[in-house]
Symmetry: C2
Subunit: 377 residues, 2 copies
């Protein structure tokens, strides 16, 4: 292998595949980046147990200044190699291999780095029985942001670390829950050419790495197979494994009636939640208290050691029965952040049953955050 | 105590005294900030074992909107209190005390915080037998930056964690050394009204907190007493304890002759050092090698496991005897950073003796970085 390339273009591609590469892995070669050079393109690959990313730099892209001398491949220690590339002195660099050693030159600097055989690098998953659909990158990004907050980060029930996606025709329903809270978003895909019927569970943390790649993209081509999902962007393919198992039935958890309702600007409630949690975070059980009565709302937080905070909320309305309810402020904060800039409705039944937060006027639970209160008595 | 104040002004003052407050201290009350309200000013105080900072907000400063109702004082948990103040909803806040509780209100939010008696807060050190001088803040800042890099961070020889300042007339000599490297800066004070003769050792880490306060200041009033130094800025007094003991005689460590000299742009050498240290940092002993011969210079770094880097340096000149010398690249990097933007001279005697880095044309060791090489054979 022997090529030279425009360094900033190469760094950009490395940064993309680095999202899939972890220094903590039980498979040593996965700490490496795989570099493959064909007749007309350079391919970089990074992978971990959950996701794999492959990105291509085409010879036809003149800004990349990709000059291919000899095709071939090698894998190199990813973090270290990227660091070297970023520190090179010149606008361009040359990379050539001799056996399992790579020689990198740029300006007056030359690095000799030990690599590993590209043959030992795991193959990307084969995709069979594919269903595919094209979606708007912005719409996908919003759907992910509004639901992933409720996915569990604990492996005790692995299925809850995933996001449940049900695709039927041009409708997508996304649900995540850690059993204390639940987020649901239903969207109608705009400008979709094909319709798909599928039911998949994607690890929520895969989306942490996908979302930055969606920025500035127009459309994404999603391919779903039996145990993989692939998101195809310009020159980049993002693979995520699917979680196996049955996702719990969540529709029955969502209350259909309410006894007390509060309307408030999301930013105002968020500010008060932040202040109340300054104290609840210092206490043992991280709970704040909301009192709703006679059209008014008061939020308070306590810490035996430090003190207390109390605040009358600038509500738009409070209607229904009086309520004294306690909850984890962090859950409400996460929910309000994804609804920021909007007026929200909080709908309660009793202080022991889950309550929901929805944008004002939203119907059919298309954009819903559900939170289970905490019993404090 | 009862006052109201413009919140951004209060936050600015809190941020200043927070520099002296550590959450890790053996004296619990020092995790608090002391708040004292007089007839015409609010005083905030923070302190740890090394430094104390006192800053004043004057009633006469109309932008502070300081409205004094009742004088008094309290100490409150500093990190927590500052966090509360930053999260308050309104432009102004009111703070009042009832016994050892503080009530903080702003807009619709009200906090009740437990404090401690201001009487239990340690007094600031008394200053006796003071010598004082006025210096340019910019000149003091440069003097600190160019020397503190060589102060030891290890407590095995406490005296070496200090910066040695010798003041004689309007000349100041600053020296720091951790016994592997040494930094020296001699300046002639400009526009000084008084002259001082003093020999003090100030903990180098005190300067980490002083330097940000020097930004944007014109002149600093320095007061030196037997065991304290005070730096007086606008409305803020910065106290640092002095280190006791005799600072080692350092003049004899500085070589007066050289056998080999190299001139190079500091930024070019810094880039090459950064690249070579990518590999040396991966090896056991963190050493890079410099070869000087026949007007040329080559820098290299090695890691048995990963590989090697070699680079011909873009020197302005190399004169004198051939040399093969090894050193810790981090020491050279620190030295070059404070000389960045300049052409530097490196002056060597043998590969076992310390070498010096000075700005091109500098004489009399007024701006000098000395580094001990590493023996690799």
């Amino acid at each position: 292998m022997h090529f030279s390339i425009h360094r900033p273009t190469f760094i950009k591609a490395l940064n993309i595949v680095m999202r899939a590469i972890s220094s903590r892995t039980t498979i040593p070669i996965l700490t490496n980046v795989k570099i493959t050079l064909n007749q007309d393109e350079l391919i970089l690959t990074g992978s971990n147990v959950d996701i794999s990313i492959e990105t291509r730099i085409l010879q036809s892209d003149t800004s990349a200044q990709l000059d291919i001398q000899t095709t071939g491949g090698i894998t190199l220690p990813a973090a270290f190699f990227t660091n070297i590339i970023k520190h090179l002195p010149d606008e361009n660099l040359t990379l050539s291999t001799e056996g399992l050693r790579a020689l990198i030159t740029s300006g007056s600097a030359s690095f000799n780095i030990n690599g590993q055989d590209v043959q030992n690098y795991p193959h990307l998953p084969e995709m069979e029985d594919i269903q595919s659909l094209k979606v708007s990158a912005a719409q996908l990004n919003e759907l992910i942001s509004q639901t992933k907050i409720s996915a569990s980060t604990q492996e005790s029930r692995p299925i809850l670390t995933g996001m449940h996606l049900e695709l039927a025709g041009n409708s997508v329903k996304a649900v995540a829950t850690d059993s204390h809270r639940l987020s649901q978003r239903i969207v109608t895909l705009t400008g979709t050419e094909t319709t798909v019927n599928a039911d998949v569970i994607i690890p929520a943390k895969s989306f942490n790495e996908l979302q930055p790649l969606l920025e500035g993209q127009d459309r994404v081509d999603i391919k779903l197979a039996a145990n993989q999902a692939v998101f195809d962007l310009d020159h980049t393919s993002f693979y995520s494994r699917l979680l196996e198992g049955n996702y719990p039935e969540t529709d029955r958890l969502i209350p259909s009636e309410s006894a007390t309702e509060m309307k408030i600007d999301a930013a105002h409630l968020l500010g008060a939640i932040d202040r109340a949690s300054l104290l609840s975070h210092e206490s043992r059980n991280n709970v704040v208290q909301l009192l709703l009565s006679q059209g008014k709302a008061e939020l308070s937080g306590n810490s035996q050691e430090i003190g207390q905070v109390k605040e009358t909320l600038p509500v738009k309305s409070v209607v229904g029965e009086d309520l004294d309810i306690s909850f984890n402020p962090d859950y409400v904060r996460d929910a309000l952040r994804v609804l920021n800039g909007k007026t929200v409705e909080l709908k309660f039944t009793t202080n022991l049953r889950p309550f929901i937060i929805i944008p004002e006027g939203e119907t059919d639970n298309k954009q819903l955050q559900l939170i289970t209160p905490v019993r404090t008595f």
